[in-house]
């Protein structure tokens, strides 16, 4: 019966005024001239006064971007500004989007694997674009720049200037504005300035002459997957009380602070208020949020991939810590064996709690996945006790660490995660790759007061919420049934609520009771009927 009739694609050419105003053209010119300076530096054009040229370059980029946004939003009445999003080449996977994607991807590949092309010199003065950043680096931390310093500076500039753009775009929405101020602050202070200043303490007597590792305090394990590696632990432990406090803070961050905040506010407190990856996605990536894949297929892939990364990072970290621990309890209380037992107990507790108390909230495949992975981890851990040769796991910890750092740390989070913003949307890394987001999401789904409340029967299924969800959640699928949205992946950016034309969605923290109500609570109909409909 299903007649496959000829499908006439809607010939919607779409011709809104998408051309740029004169001011915007000038702004683009200014911004690109700033980029041009950096590009010339990459090709080893030697600028005589580096401080001046770097300042000019960064100012030109910033002012160009801010001017462009000012021209776009300042004269408009506050409200949702998505006109023409799907007509513009850059935001609808057009030519400009592909070019930008290629440029970004190329930049990441060079940054991670060929920093010498950026002018990195291991002994002596840097050249090229890294050399251009030397003066700024010396002012902040006293040392010449590295490729990471260049990247960190540009990253911070991007969050700040696109943050300003976002503040104008959503100036009617206080939730969005506060959230954006927050990510701008955390990027500037915690990710950029504080670690650089901390580097100045190195060798100081306050650290007992020790040297702290580079530490962005808001960067928590497992996002900061290297935090417990031996060189860092040694550095922490040889840097006096401050070093020790930082190590304790690192451990508390993941085991105490994070669970409490996520219980109270959902994972948004981190993912869209604090995190640097989230910060970039929310500001520079805002123009690409609509590109995320909403299909149920993508959702399946997401759940398998992101949770596999969690397993990977857990194994890798366990192996790395294991590798540098001793075996003699009389020398140090924490040994290879006691550490592994501790990990096994902790994982068993979490697994047992979820499977016993929260099983009804886990889908079948999630349960199978959890059981499978749990068995694998426990088997690998017990390998240590049965093999008797002091090896853990089937792999060397160094190999695991290197593969993780390459596959996840560089390729996934950088090259794909950010490089492909204009193609796959702004949260590819957060959605498919980030182990931190997955752990917070696990808790958000099972033990948090946060939910997006659906407002009775007001949904008209228009699809704005789903379209603009950067995490690819099909928000409408819940809203049109009158169901609250409680999803592990939701980062609480609040855009679904903002773009809803009928006031249907509200992010809020409330009692756990009735938070996930899989019943359809659509209002407006006869009460008796609703009881029947809810019976399923």
């Amino acid at each position: 019966m299903n007649s496959q009739t000829y499908h006439k694609s809607m010939a919607l050419t779409g011709e809104p005024p998408k051309s740029l105003s004169i001011a915007q053209k000038l702004a683009v010119l200014l911004g690109f001239s700033g980029m041009g300076i950096l590009l010339l530096a990459i090709f080893n054009v030697n600028f005589p006064n580096k401080t001046l040229w770097l300042t000019m370059s960064l100012l030109a980029i910033s002012i160009g971007t801010i001017w462009f946004s000012w021209d776009a939003y300042s004269q408009k009445i506050p409200g949702i500004k998505n006109d023409g999003v799907w007509f513009k080449s850059i935001s609808s996977r057009g030519l400009w989007a592909w070019l930008a994607g290629l440029a970004l991807t190329g930049f990441y590949i060079v940054l991670y694997f060929y920093p010498e092309y950026l002018g990195l010199v291991s002994e002596g003065d840097n050249k090229g674009v890294i050399g251009l950043f030397d003066p700024l680096s010396k002012v902040l931390n006293g040392n010449p720049a590295s490729q990471w310093f260049v990247y960190g500076t540009l990253y911070t500039v991007a969050i700040l200037v696109f943050g300003i753009k976002f503040l104008w775009k959503y100036r009617h929405n206080r939730y969005e504005r506060l959230r954006t101020w927050s990510v701008m602050f955390f990027q500037l202070a915690f990710a950029f300035i504080i670690p650089e200043l901390m580097a100045r303490l190195n060798g100081h007597k306050i650290l007992d002459g020790g040297s702290l590792p580079y530490y962005d305090l808001k960067n928590i394990w497992p996002l900061n997957y290297y935090n417990f590696e031996s060189y860092r632990i040694k550095a922490f432990l040889t840097s006096g009380e401050i070093g020790f406090a930082l190590l304790i803070f690192g451990i508390l961050s993941i085991f105490v602070i994070t669970p409490i905040l996520t219980y109270k506010y959902g994972k948004r407190w981190y993912c869209s208020w604090v995190c640097g990856c989230g910060g970039l996605a929310e500001t520079a990536g805002d123009s690409f949020r609509q590109l995320s894949d909403k299909s149920t297929f993508a959702w399946k892939v997401e759940r398998w991939v992101v949770h596999s990364v969690v397993v990977f990072v857990t194994l890798m970290t366990t192996a790395v810590i294991y590798s540098y621990l001793g075996t003699d309890t009389s020398k140090y209380w924490l040994t290879k064996s006691s550490f592994l037992i501790g990990v096994a107990v902790l994982l068993t507790l979490v697994f047992g709690w979820a499977m016993i108390f929260k099983r009804d909230q886990l889908q079948k495949d999630a349960q199978y996945g959890a059981i499978g992975y749990f068995i694998i981890i426990i088997a690998l851990i017990s390998f240590h006790f049965f093999s008797g040769d002091g090896e853990v796991f089937l792999f060397k910890s160094g190999t695991l660490r290197k593969s993780y750092s390459f596959l996840i740390g560089s390729i996934f989070s950088g090259v794909i995660g950010t490089g492909f913003y204009p193609i796959f949307g702004s949260r590819v890394w957060c959605r498919f790759g980030c182990p931190m987001a997955a752990i917070l999401g696990f808790q958000q789904k099972l033990f948090s007061r946060f939910r997006i409340t659906t407002n009775g029967g007001q949904c008209i299924s228009c699809g704005n919420c789903s379209t603009y969800c950067e995490m690819g959640i099909d928000v409408r699928a819940y809203a049109q049934k009158g169901e609250n949205i409680v999803r592990a992946s939701c980062v609480g950016c609040g855009i679904c609520s903002a773009v809803c034309p009928r006031g249907v969605l509200k992010l809020e923290n409330g009692p756990l009771d009735k938070r996930i109500d899989s019943n359809q609570v659509l209002l407006g109909n006869d009460v008796d009927l609703m009881t029947l409909v809810n019976k399923n």
């Binding site: 299903n2 809607m10 799907w86 299924s461 228009c462 034309p501 009928r502 006869d526």
Partner: protein, 449 residues
């Protein structure tokens, strides 16, 4: 296996199909001439505005229908044979049914204006209308000016759409103020202001006399009744409401009024034939509702109700408290219960009105003069919690109670500035009361005790 045929794949027909599938194993076929898959009609405007692509307006992925064994036929129903129980299609063989659900929605009104069928004159209802609009008004070179006739919800949406492409719009509203047959004066005037703020040439008290053609049979201009003024334009949007889309049923023997006549069980005069959504007309209006309700939510509710009946649990259509919402350019509007305009207001209905001194925010609460029970609320620019107002209306709360607990009902995003204390102090001074506003209480809101 019983075969249920549904004509129309809008929200009413699709909701019915989904719920019938939930409750039974019956064979279900949906016929639509408009589109292959269900889409949200209310979202068409966003496609023209570039907020979404057409596929984003489809609430279910294409594999959903097969998975749920709901057959889809794209075709136009030319005739319903009620005796032998089959429908005739323009593009496929006759389709026999055991039960037939008519859910064909509406079509734009045309009131016999001279020139109403010229090229460049159109309504805005269907997917085809949207495609036509892309031809008639792709940009402001081809469409130098558009004139919109009729000051209702679709008219203002069309104006908003055209403005996103910088097309000059003249908006003719017959009434003295925008949508004032429904909205009280204060609210209606605020919307007038907002329309003009968006550089839309709003003409109040202006009606269409005729649409004038050029030599090619395209619209050239319109002439107004009141002033005789002629306005040159390339597009005329007819947005003076909708009427049930039921012409194909003329000789079917199914009782028709303006729509398909149904009883409270959504049954027509012919056995095993039902009508739901925009095209259904109640013999007698339910409460303050109109006999034909062309609203998204009522279409959905009728679909839910009829699915019960079809699956052996004969059920009356009993909509609960009225609610609705809309967005006027940048201003969101919600309503719960009944707030009537001055024209339609009953003797016993008293209004309390508050408007923000600067911003475009206001509310109107209607209550009974004698008992002081809540009758309804309109809000503009402030979101309200549906569940709370539904509960307050069911429990016949007094206006004083509503004022006292107003914070519980707010549904604005977090950190939004609340205006409850301003609202309550205005209420206290208007009605010489001394209500103390209570703090927001999660236990009350979520009814935990």
């Amino acid at each position: 296996m019983e075969h249920i045929v549904i004509i129309g794949n809008g929200i009413a027909g699709v909701t019915a199909a989904r719920h019938i599938r939930k409750l039974s194993d019956k064979k279900i076929t949906i016929v639509s001439a408009e589109s292959e898959y269900f889409f949200s009609r209310t979202a068409l405007m966003y496609v023209y505005m570039g907020h979404m692509k057409f596929e984003h307006t489809q609430p279910y992925e294409n594999h959903f229908w097969k998975k749920n064994r709901i057959d889809l036929i794209k075709g136009y129903v030319t005739n319903v044979n009620t005796k032998e129980k089959f429908i005739q299609l323009d593009c496929a063989a006759d389709l026999p049914y055991d039960k037939l659900i008519i859910a064909t929605g509406s079509k734009p009104n045309k009131f016999g204006w001279p020139g109403q069928d010229l090229d460049g004159v159109q309504g805005l209802y269907s997917k085809q209308d949207l495609e036509l609009l892309e031809e008639n008004a792709p940009n402001n070179n081809i469409c130098k000016r558009a004139v919109i006739i009729g000051g209702g919800l679709i008219g203002i949406e069309l104006a908003e759409m055209l403005r996103t492409r910088n097309i000059p719009v003249t908006f003719l509203v017959r009434e003295k103020s925008f949508w004032n047959s429904v909205l009280p004066t204060g609210e209606s005037e605020m919307i007038n202001e907002h329309i003009r703020e968006h550089h839309i040439d709003l003409r109040l008290g202006a009606s269409l006399k005729q649409i004038n053609p050029d030599e090619n049979g395209r619209v050239k201009s319109v002439t107004l009744i009141e002033t005789g003024e002629e306005i040159e334009c390339n597009l005329v949007g007819l947005t003076t409401g909708v009427t049930p889309n039921i012409d194909f049923l003329m000789d079917s023997g199914i009782e028709l009024g303006r729509g398909v006549k149904v009883n409270r069980f959504l049954e027509t005069n012919v056995d095993d034939i039902y009508a739901i959504g925009d095209c259904a007309e109640q013999h007698e209006a339910i409460g303050h509702r109109r006999p034909i309700e062309a609203v998204w939510y009522t279409g959905r509710m009728m679909g839910e109700t009829l699915a019960q009946t079809i699956c052996g649990n004969r059920m009356e259509y009993k909509p609960g408290h009225w609610f609705n919402s809309a967005k006027f350019l940048d201003i969101e509007y919600q309503t719960y219960g009944w707030v009537f305009s001055e024209k339609r207001k009953k003797e016993n209905e008293v209004h309390f009105h508050w408007k923000h001194p600067k911003e475009k925010l206001c509310i109107t609460i209607a209550f009974d003069k004698v008992s002081e029970t809540l009758l309804g609320i309109n809000t503009f620019g402030i979101r309200l919690r549906h569940e709370i107002f539904d509960r307050w209306l069911s429990e016949s709360k007094s206006i004083d109670y509503v004022m006292e607990h107003l914070r519980d009902a707010n549904f604005d995003p977090e950190f939004y500035k609340g205006f409850e204390s301003d609202i309550v102090s205005k209420y206290n001074s208007d009605f010489t009361k001394s209500i103390n506003l209570k703090k927001k209480n999660l236990k009350r809101i979520f009814q935990l005790n």
